[in-house]
């Protein structure tokens, strides 16, 4: 491979000068610059980034881990990350952790090995490797969380207000005449699930239907939504609305209704969460909460860059706007509320 040395030799200048032409062209005399550039072209020189990184202690890379890359929600977030990173001159090292702690740790180790300048993790578990880093470097540790937010971690994060969103969905359901509502949540240990659950319960209690709330646990997958819905339908003929904490689970629930011959929204309404692309194409189209997926991704990058460029003094919690999206899977319930005027 051709090195800067070769270029310098070919142009009849020192290595330093050749390097300068590439890094700070304005510091070099016009004529020399042209000569060097010609050699660069002629030899087809490209900088060896590894050597450059060693010298500068910058890699121009960021690691991003996701629980599941084939989950449409995450893949949209990733897209946002990738876009923002690329724009800022960073490449994305992608890690699919499959929700396994060990894989999370493995990717975190890469940060220690200086394979990247920073790391964005989209799950909720902070790898112990990162925890240690955080302990040592505090806010200067180049770590950002996305989609979820756990204040106690001391890590910057980009996310929506999950509690409020869930609360709004529930209120909408009550306003439309539903009382017996079932929830299909995500894994209990995720703060995201807890936040939404908190919001949903609050709305239920505020409306006086706390007792009527039924809760099933899922794992965000289609199948778990289907199973949870089937479970709900056994023996219980009261539920008129199911609020799922992900669109995929909602699609699973829709399938369950179809399998058991229950009409949606005729008999049971379904509301999802995320607004993945497929939400509008299933039958009936799925009412849901739109998360600004790409925006969340972009924001995590922005937060990370703030840390890398030392513009950060304390962890930032960036709350992005969500939006309720009414679609046909949501219909009126059997208890028209008293007139509100």
């Amino acid at each position: 491979m051709t090195t800067i040395r070769d270029v310098a030799a070919a142009a009849g200048v020192s290595r330093a000068t050749a390097a300068r032409v590439l890094a700070n062209p304005e510091m070099v005399a016009e004529a020399t610059r042209a000569r060097v550039m010609k050699s660069v072209e002629a030899l087809g020189y490209t900088r060896n980034s590894v050597a450059a990184s060693l010298r500068t202690t910058r890699t121009g890379r960021i690691i991003v881990t996701v629980p599941d890359i084939s989950n449409p929600f995450f893949s949209r977030v990733i897209r946002g990350v990738e876009e923002a990173a690329q724009k800022a001159g960073y490449a994305v090292l992608l890690g699919d952790t499959r929700n396994e702690r060990e894989r999370e740790e493995q990717y975190a180790e890469m940060l220690n090995r200086r394979e990247a300048d920073g790391m964005i993790f989209l799950g909720h578990r902070l790898p112990t490797v990162l925890a240690r880093l955080l302990e040592r470097d505090g806010v200067r540790a180049p770590i950002v969380n996305g989609c979820e937010f756990t204040p106690s971690l001391g890590v910057s994060s980009a996310h929506i207000d999950n509690a409020r969103a869930a609360c709004q969905v529930m209120q909408t359901l009550y306003d439309m005449g539903h009382r017996d509502i079932a929830l299909i949540t995500g894994p209990e240990e995720s703060p995201l699930t807890r936040d939404r659950l908190t919001g949903a319960c609050k709305a239920a209690e505020d409306n006086g239907y706390g007792q009527a709330l039924v809760v099933q646990t899922g794992d965000f997958s289609i199948e778990s939504g289907r199973r949870a819905a089937l479970e709900l339908l056994v023996g219980d003929r009261r539920t008129t609305a199911i609020f799922c904490f992900s669109d995929e689970m909602a699609i699973g629930a829709l399938t369950a209704l179809r399998e058991t011959g229950i009409a949606c929204p005729g008999t049971i309404s379904i509301v999802g969460f995320d607004d993945i692309q497929m939400a509008r194409y299933v039958e009936p189209p799925l009412a849901t909460v739109r998360q600004p997926m790409a925006e969340i991704g972009r924001k995590t990058v922005e937060l990370l860059l703030d840390i890398l460029h030392r513009r950060q003094t304390s962890p930032v919690s960036a709350t992005l706007p969500h939006e309720f999206v009414a679609r046909r899977s949501l219909g009126r319930g059997p208890h028209p509320p008293a007139s509100k005027t």
Copy 2:
């Protein structure tokens, strides 16, 4: 940061010995090894991969570019890639090219800068940067193509037999009594589209219905499928089956039928391609061709490793098995074929 020097000093050995303990422990005396390991632990040492890479000229990374990471087909392939790469000790640098040539080139440049040891590209366009590399290094150029296959490129590739798969789908349709079949293809410039088109046309002609074949072009997206289907339905009341070159387009077509009140499979049957997860959850569940997505991903990595480890003498075309999946969106056509006995 602590370096191997610090470790060596703490353990009272030379840098070389300390390094050896990490790389070839068996070459070092038990006692010294223990001492070094203790210092490693005590100091919390982790190897600086950048320095190591500079020395060894290996990065342990591979670049993978996809036209669209949020496409469920590709995200499954990526998952296979990631899994195989990780197993072989490689990390994946992900590039979402958004089908833009310039972004493809940018990622390809990274290979030149030695940011990775090799590259897998899932689109069909060979970036010119890679073409040059290929010209120079021939089969030793660490480049592999996935999902698509263009023999003339001289690049190893993992894919299914697209022509045969399309041919089989058409034959199945004819066997079920369909004659007036419409195709919704991918972009014309993709070899994948061409291969499937070739296969489909062959089947049509073999069955004597070449004239009845209608072709619309899509871009694999849901919306393009929907639009193409709507287009097909205008004025033409003959089509009884639509074969889409991706499940997403098929889902779009399904939506179009629903919007226009046409029964599926009652009036028109739909067949997709890929067997993405959602295929079985739409209504009606989608008949399709299952591609071994994860397997394709894994295979591309295997092919790349073969090159990196110099086990390769000429480009390999790995054809993986596909499978037709019958589901409810495919029903009988109006022309029951003559008995075949």
